[in-house]
Symmetry: C2
Subunit: 432 residues, 2 copies
């Protein structure tokens, strides 16, 4: 049998506790599989008193994650602290510099400092694995870095944030308003007290940054992702989507175009018959479209202690098996610079909802503004005002395919004309 | 840069040609990814004239696959010949014995001789990779052998045969009879002239055998899988399923039970709202339920030259990266003997369709026979005979959960009573 693999685990919150539980339960079976024992030789957490429940066996306690990371008695440092700076970053850097393999679930750290960490890992010929950083228990990193590595990826997209999908699903199923569902999600622990990071799309953008680099072999797009959240989605939009044969999902999409890579996080209309439309609640999914593989879709739990622990454990298994890969598909020197495609060139269909004032010629003027920009309409649905004296009617337009520039200019002109009572709602329709 | 990886490819049919196309298109990118060149140094096919179209570059031609397999100028033997004996088996054995890595798409060979081939691979410390053998472009082998390796799998199931799924989907969507759809599938090339291997469930059973070993860490179940095909499924069953909120799919299911592993291929009712119910046409899917990962579902193309070539290429990528794993999750010595759970103990709900003779007391007698065996009914739907003089009515029963033994004994008694005009139809309802 090979030498045991010695782990140092920093951070013993829910995921850390889940990992210890997994090791306790499946340690023997894993030893058979790997012909190698995995032992936890060191642990570190903020509050020693809090983790007394977890079985840390004979592991040595460290108060300082950086000390643990560089400890000569560990081979692999497991970072479950979180945060894109501070002790997580310092400890991961220390571990790599000390020639330790690193396994982390920290998407924020990787989205921000992934390139320099990958360079460090390569320099020291160690692993930097982060399966748990994207889509929890769904092994999408392994998919892109290994299983589909011989493909040219055309598009990768998915439902990458469980909080948003829970909210949108509940709004749809129970005909509720955004604010009410958000409160419910907060009460259930599916949304944070300050939910901005999730519902604003920023969490999904971190994950999409990692997927983009892995899918296209580019440097990380970091702050170059177009991000819109779900806070503008109203019950009227959800209802219109359903009546038109669509569902609204917060998607992360990265797509190869002639002018670069479109990387965007935003609510989107998806056809109700698409598999992704059925992905409900906190479940995540990721689809990868390779030129040879075709479209491969993965669906599974996007978060939670156990699925995340499973993903962390699979990274540890790879380390135990001696698999050391470039963290972002290719060695850093081979990664192409991320070239952003301007979203004004995005080509697709659009859903538009307007609150049109009850004036003679208003609709004609709106239709003309669309026509001026070459935007043709697939359907127009005008809803009568709810009450007799309402001054505006809700008008829903589905456009044929056009560029986002045309849409934006047409909407700007419509707003300037003063025939609408509120800012127009615009949601992209994703061709799946 | 590392030494090039030298491939010998035996079999240049559609998949072989797809692989050569992939290598020609993505060779440069793969070299960047792997820091290693992959070169085809030898090829072999039945008919040299037929493959003149494929670009085999400077590869040496071999008339004999075994000679190619043992050629000192190759590192990795790619077997795309097919068949569970003959040249495929001989060449794979020769390659392993000569210390060459083997990549194969041959599910029949592996289902039959997998254990002895795995032993050979282990003895010579080489890879035996077969991602393309199950579910085409869906990387399910990698999923089980690597990504979910730290889980105890509770159940693995899926739609493993595109021909059957195409037929069932078309029967459902176009309200056609089995025979008519089969003829259409044959005309389109989705079904063979002799379709028994596909529609009888045997192809799915080969794939399930491989999945079972990988999921549960057991020896291959080989001939110990319960197999039923789709040839008994009638338009009446499809229609009944739809009206009850189900779809009929040919499933391969392997499930851990108290008395062993249930491994079965058969048509099944699946709830229409389950994602798997939406998987239509020749698309395949596989779901893996791990105790930590939760349920992870993969959906993608189950066959075709390009997806299969993508899977073969991913196996080659693993070889190029030096990843050598036990072929069936654990080293052969660690695999537990496959312990078959008798299907009579299967616990679940059932769909039963009876052609009940128009006699006084017939339904009462049927209900009593069910009751005698402790089978309670969730629903009974009796359809009037199509014509006034029809002697039998179609009765559809959905049972509550019970054992298969109870169902079978109740149906035997019902048949013996002589109140039905044809053999009962029984289809398992799969809890998803």
């Amino acid at each position: 049998m090979k030498e045991p693999l010695k782990l140092g685990i920093a951070g013993l919150g829910t995921v850390g506790a889940g990992l210890l539980e997994l090791m306790a339960k499946h340690g023997v079976s894993l030893e058979e599989t790997l012909d190698r024992r995995i032992v936890v030789t060191g642990v570190c957490a903020r509050n020693r008193d809090k983790v007394r429940g977890a079985d840390i066996g004979h592991a040595r306690w460290f108060d300082d994650a950086v000390m643990l990371a560089a400890d000569p008695n560990i081979d692999c440092f497991v970072e479950l602290i979180g945060g894109d700076e501070g002790p997580a970053r310092a400890a991961v850097e220390a571990a790599l510099k000390a020639g330790k393999h690193v396994v982390t679930a920290n998407k924020a750290l990787l989205a921000k400092h992934g390139m320099e960490l990958a360079r460090l890992a390569e320099k020291h010929a160690v692993s930097l694995n982060f399966e748990a950083a994207v889509a929890g228990g769904i092994p999408v990193i392994k998919m892109l870095r290994e299983a589909l590595a011989a493909n040219e990826v055309k598009r990768v997209y998915g439902i990458l944030n469980g909080t948003c999908n829970y909210i949108l699903t509940k709004m749809q199923d129970e005909h509720l308003a955004f604010d009410d569902v958000l409160k419910d999600a907060q009460a259930k622990g599916y949304a944070e007290a300050d939910p901005t990071f999730d519902i604003g799309g920023f969490d999904a953008a971190h994950k999409l940054a990692l997927l983009t680099s892995l899918a296209f072999g580019t440097t990380l797009p970091a702050d170059q992702i177009h991000v819109e959240g779900i806070q503008t989605i109203s019950a009227a939009d959800i209802e219109a989507a359903q009546s038109l044969g669509y569902r609204i999902k917060l998607l992360g999409v990265a797509e190869r175009t002639a002018s670069g890579i479109e990387a965007r996080v935003h609510p989107a209309f998806v056809p109700e018959e698409a598999t992704i439309a059925q992905v409900s609640g906190v479940t995540n999914c990721v689809a990868i479209e390779g030129d040879f593989s075709g479209s491969v879709l993965l669906v599974g739990p996007g978060a939670g202690a156990k699925p995340t622990a499973s993903a962390v454990a699979s990274d540890i298994v790879d380390v135990a098996r001696g698999l050391v890969l470039p963290p972002f598909l290719k060695p850093v020197a081979q990664l192409k610079p991320f070239q952003r495609a301007n979203l004004s060139g995005h080509y697709g269909s659009y859903y538009i909802r307007l609150s049109v004032l009850d004036r003679p010629g208003a609709m004609a003027s709106i239709a003309k503004r669309m026509g001026d920009r070459g935007v043709s309409l697939e359907s127009i649905v005008q809803k009568k005002p709810g009450t007799a004296d309402a001054a505006a009617a809700s008008v829903v337009l589905i456009t044929h395919e056009t560029t986002e520039e045309n849409i934006r200019k047409a909407l700007d002109a419509i707003e300037a004309d003063g025939n609408i009572a509120a800012r127009p709602q615009m949601i992209r329709i994703e061709e799946l």
